[in-house]
Symmetry: C2
């Protein structure tokens, strides 16, 4: 079955080669930022399409967002196109999960300040309190048990940790890789057991400010918080204070509160990620929203794209559909 796909940017040569080599022969791909009215693509690939790209082809039936989640601006736009289905590419869930585990471990050993001091040839830091948290035998609560959360769980079990999954609505069956599962409504009950709180939630109305000062206070002494979902899930000021006052042992954060404006992440101009001076804290690993990125993962994006549009060529429904009401 012939399928016309338009990618709303120009991928590099290596990526296009990879994509072409994997495509079903019936799939035809065009690329580029500009589309003309009267175009005939049925599938559009773009995270933040302009309205013109949505209306240029009357045959359009599916929008593929080439990552996980849906930007707010796209979610709004899509309300005007109820007949166009939205799909995600979860191509970097494994990469993001591995990064989340990296942040957890690096935070638990205070790797950053020890590296910094040691580069000045200082072997020991003033020992005010515990300087390294051993995770084996401890409990990790994974908030959001989707493509990323399940992979974080598997790695945590390899480290000898106990895994508690928290999902929007817990089915009775404990999902693969978890020791327990609870609905988000039972969060207060599980937080006191969370030696590590791993957050891998999408940005939705329900997840915004889900973790505030009340929730942070419920965590046990010496807890570690990792966020690779969206910054807005954790309230900014209570998080800063909990770290500054060492009520949290440490945090590993890849997602933030203020993002650089403009293309290319502000083209290298410094841009603070928060109104609070997180950068002054020693008990934090600061990461500029890069969990899901690696060179080989980017190539994988095109593997996933080929796999997805090949479904259409085979006359099968496209996978990973996004529910616009839930937002993921």
């Amino acid at each position: 079955m012939k399928v016309a796909v338009h990618i709303l940017w120009t991928p590099d040569e290596k990526s296009m080669e990879r994509l072409t080599s994997l495509l079903h022969p019936d799939v035809e791909v065009t690329t580029g930022e500009n589309v003309e009215p009267g175009a005939e693509y049925e599938i559009l690939v773009s995270g933040r399409p302009k309205r013109e790209a949505m209306t240029a082809s009357s045959k359009l039936h599916s929008l593929v967002i080439p990552f996980t989640g849906i930007p707010q601006i796209t979610r709004e736009l899509m309300k005007d196109f109820p007949n166009v289905a939205v799909h995600n590419l979860h191509y970097n869930a494994a990469t993001t999960a591995e990064y989340a585990v990296t942040l957890m471990l690096a935070a638990s050993k205070l790797l950053i300040p020890f590296d910094r001091a040691f580069r000045q040839h200082i072997w020991a830091l003033p020992r005010q309190s515990n300087q390294s948290t051993f995770l084996e035998g401890k409990t990790v609560v994974i908030l959001g048990y989707g493509e990323i959360g399940r992979r974080v769980a598997r790695a945590c079990r390899g480290l000898g940790m106990k895994v508690i999954a928290v999902r929007r609505s817990a089915s009775e069956k404990v999902p693969e890789g978890a020791d327990e599962v609870h609905p988000v409504g039972a969060l207060e009950k599980v937080l006191p057991r969370a030696n590590v709180l791993q957050i891998a939630l999408p940005q939705t109305k329900e997840t915004e400010n889900l973790i505030g000062s009340r929730e942070l206070d419920l965590l046990p002494e010496g807890a570690i918080l990792v966020n690779v979902g969206r910054g807005t899930t954790v309230e900014e000021e209570p998080l800063y204070n909990a770290l500054k006052e060492r009520r949290l042992f440490a945090a590993g954060l890849d997602v933030w509160y203020e993002y650089p404006k403009g293309p290319n992440r502000g083209a290298g101009k410094p841009s603070p990620p928060s109104k609070f001076p997180f950068h002054e804290l020693d008990n934090i690993v600061m990461s500029p929203h890069r969990a899901g990125w690696s060179e080989e993962t980017e190539l994988r994006r095109f593997d996933y794209l080929a796999e997805l549009v090949n479904h259409a060529a085979r006359g099968e429904p496209l996978p990973s559909r996004v529910d616009l009401v839930l937002g993921y």
Copy 2:
């Protein structure tokens, strides 16, 4: 069976409480740096005992080194006491293994330079090459498959890695947690497959300079090296050059070439760990020999000590005996 144990230092109160609570009623413990001739202890606990402590008691039959391995000076001394058995406490193998996995992951994501730039509010580093290595599906070669190596293996499998164990002499049976096992003589054959080389070897004549420029050159492109064993296993200059020239993607090093002299790690005085400027490199996580240390692990040391001397009280042979010829 009555057993007299002397600890050749004065542990803090919390540690002594823990120890006493776990001891067999027949075990009697004395502590302190000084011992008098005519003492009657049968087991001495010390990593670097003076000769006087070895001769003070004619009943001495066992020396317990309260960590893994045997310092060279102690190994020399023990040649004069062939009737005293030497034992190790592997109390921190799990902690060290977890730290080795932490170094591997932090190195693979270049966590250090990204954190440093981001604290200056810089979101992106100049992209010269790959900036993050994804480990799932990659191969880790674990050099030294003892108490630490086996635990590193388990965590690596949780990350979806393939595990190759390298031991002094490979038995035919693949040990628990590994996909393959090879003798150290076959190192040249396995190094080209090592996306990660994890080193957890003791310091012996056989391990010194085991990894030199020839071995580093055999590693595949983009490899990561982690060393939590002893610095001397990897030749200093070739390692520095391989990192500087980016033939290695990155390294995580907890063990070094020059150590501070004197008590308390040189009492905070800066002391370079190498004659090469490793501290100028971005593709390294520098850690001041702290892999095996955490507050809760220190308490565990006394759990292990109690467990070991209780064997004697029950009339059983002491575990974890050190072979003075092999050095571990």
